[in-house]
């Protein structure tokens, strides 16, 4: 089911949590609401779920206006940040809850419920835990049970609040892949909230970047990375070198970027858009290699200027394939020449 948000506003007292939000999430997407903490992403998710109400604006699920609908009539499944598993029920009873509380006429027979719960437990690969209590599970297991519980009522939309937030780094990595695979199998329109751009890039097919209650940009991960709409998105998604034309004007001009077409603007240069080569010996060094880190397939290089007033930022980050770096045969303190392949200008 597709989800649309139109002109949505929400205030908490004097605090403007959400400011004229407009969103479109097509059917079958796995979308991420990405932003720093306090940006309003969780509030937006809870409004979509019907756990909170907007001050104005509309929530449209599959073409129907659901702004006033109760959470249980929206066809959503919600996975809470801390899972909110019912602590006095076994894993099995937790998953069966949504089915057992249906009005008698709609309630499936207990045998049907049983089959369904076991199918879901197999889906999340935890059938052997069915008689355990939430207390006895690890964080990753609780997360998967919470997901199974939400799926039991066959929601048309799945909403997940910081699904990996409370997990260890290693568990998080596995679960990200698992969620992607699961989404491919089920094809349920899903939205998850995260503050981790790497996580959003890895898992989501579509990312909505929120900041201070506003949508900064929405699009596919590559769109966001390659064509950031503004400085916030450019800095939030991936690494970037920030050079403002005031402090770094001298240097920008020296490499042919400081033209008058961009007065007062800020240049963003991705680390992989800088290429370096060894300066032939004999010439006076202007930029030297300060340090480098081998990160596997790529190597991150830190460059710094030699003169204090040359207008260079304290550190310029460059990334290149490790193979290439090896061929350059550079050592700390070596002088280098650089060229910039691509630059983006923002206010």
């Amino acid at each position: 089911m597709s989800i649309s948000i139109a002109q949505l506003n929400k205030r908490f007292g004097a605090f403007n949590a959400l400011n004229n939000i407009n969103l479109d999430i097509p059917e079958g997407e796995l979308a991420a609401l990405l932003g720093p903490s306090g940006c309003g992403k969780t509030t937006l998710l809870r409004i979509i779920a019907g756990l909170e109400w907007p001050d104005s604006g509309r929530v449209i699920i599959n073409g129907e206006d659901k702004t006033q609908a109760h959470a249980s009539h929206r066809g959503i499944g919600f996975v809470f940040q801390h899972y909110a598993l019912f602590r006095h029920m076994t894993v099995f009873d937790n998953i069966a809850f949504g089915l057992r509380i249906k009005p008698r006429r709609q309630r499936p027979a207990e045998s049907v419920i049983r089959t369904k719960v076991h199918t879901l437990l197999e889906l999340v690969q935890l059938d052997w835990l069915h008689d355990h209590f939430p207390d006895q599970l690890s964080g990753g297991q609780r997360q998967r049970i919470a997901l199974a519980r939400a799926l039991a009522v066959e929601p048309s939309v799945l909403l997940l609040d910081e699904p990996f937030g409370a997990l260890d780094a290693s568990v998080r990595k596995d679960l990200r892949q698992w969620l992607r695979t699961l989404h491919r199998e089920l094809h349920v329109t899903s939205i998850f909230v995260t503050h981790d751009q790497e996580e959003a890039m890895e898992v989501a097919s579509r990312i909505v970047v929120l900041n201070k209650g506003k949508v900064e940009q929405q699009g596919s991960p590559s769109e966001l990375y390659d064509q950031p709409a503004n400085a916030f998105v450019s800095q939030f998604i991936g690494q970037t070198n920030v050079l403002d034309s005031h402090n770094h004007q001298h240097w920008l001009q020296s490499i042919g970027l400081g033209d008058d077409a961009h007065p007062g603007l800020v240049a963003h240069v991705r680390p992989q858009h800088i290429t370096i080569e060894k300066t032939p010996t004999g010439l006076p060094p202007s930029i030297v290699l300060k340090d480098w880190q081998h990160l596997g397939a790529i190597t991150r290089v830190e460059l710094t200027g030699t003169k204090p007033d040359d207008g260079l930022p304290p550190v310029l980050h460059v990334e290149m394939p490790s193979e290439h770096f090896k061929q350059l045969q550079l050592f700390k303190g070596d002088a280098v020449n650089i060229s910039i392949k691509q630059v983006q200008w923002f206010n």
């Binding site: 779920a49 019907g50 756990l51 109760h70 959470a71 249980s72 959503i76 499944g77 919600f78 809470f80 801390h82 909110a84 598993l85 019912f86 602590r87 006095h88 809850f97 949504g98 509380i101 249906k102 207390d135 519980r149 939400a150 039991a152 009522v153």
Partner: protein, 293 residues
Amino acid sequence: MSTQIIVEQPDSTAAPIARRLAAQHDSLWVKYSLISLTLAFCTLFLILPLAVVLTEASAKGFAAYRQALVNPDTLSAIRLTLLTALITVPLNTVFGISAAWLITRFKFPGRSFLTTLIDLPFSVSPVISGLVFVLMFGAQGWLGAWVSTYDLKVIFAIPGIVLATLFVTFPFVARELIPLMQEIGKEEEEAALSLGASGWQTFLRITLPNIKWGLLYGVLLCNARAMGEFGAVSVVSGHIRGLTNTLPLHVEANYNEYNFAGAFASASILAALALVTLVLKTLLEWRQAQNRR
């Protein structure tokens, strides 16, 4: 830490370590004198009074004890005490659940003020708690005339005793549930509602199982106070033997008439009630700790 000490003072490693331990642990003489002090104080103030109730009650032998208990006035006092608890505890329990739900599940202006108001009866002297009902329903009270036209008796009658008891036991259940439900949070209830449960289903299947031990705990304390209240009830009861004397008032009446056997026989029932309360309370605390693990 210890290696550092060894490096600094290679010749005497034992002394600094001992000194370090001494800084984290009380020396034995401090420990044993504090334990002795505690035991002495508690013996004097807690164990001795309990022992005296039991010895005094049995001082005149079992026959006298039994005689004092089957006395019609004693029996009527027991009945009135039970009746009062039977009315007040359920009423205050329903209120406690309602107030805790309101305060922990919603945000609204005046919420913390409301919490303060609920605790109010705890800071009012029992005598004043009784007095306010005399002022309302007594002969000169503003409802006194209205009450007498319908020939109702409130003061110096059972309704007055019930009202005064309701007042003094008012906060017990709410006070127990509010912090508990605050701590549990509302996520589980939100989860149940988002899965399609109705409000009642959510309360019965999610909230109640989560709070049941805390609720029982509050009910237990409420009941103990309802059965044992003296000051407030004393003001409104009128002390009519066999009619408006609760068990604590019956103890007083016997004691003031130098009928010590009778006083301590009734007191022993109340002391037994206190002990049962303490045992159940300890069990419930243990259950709650298990539950919240």
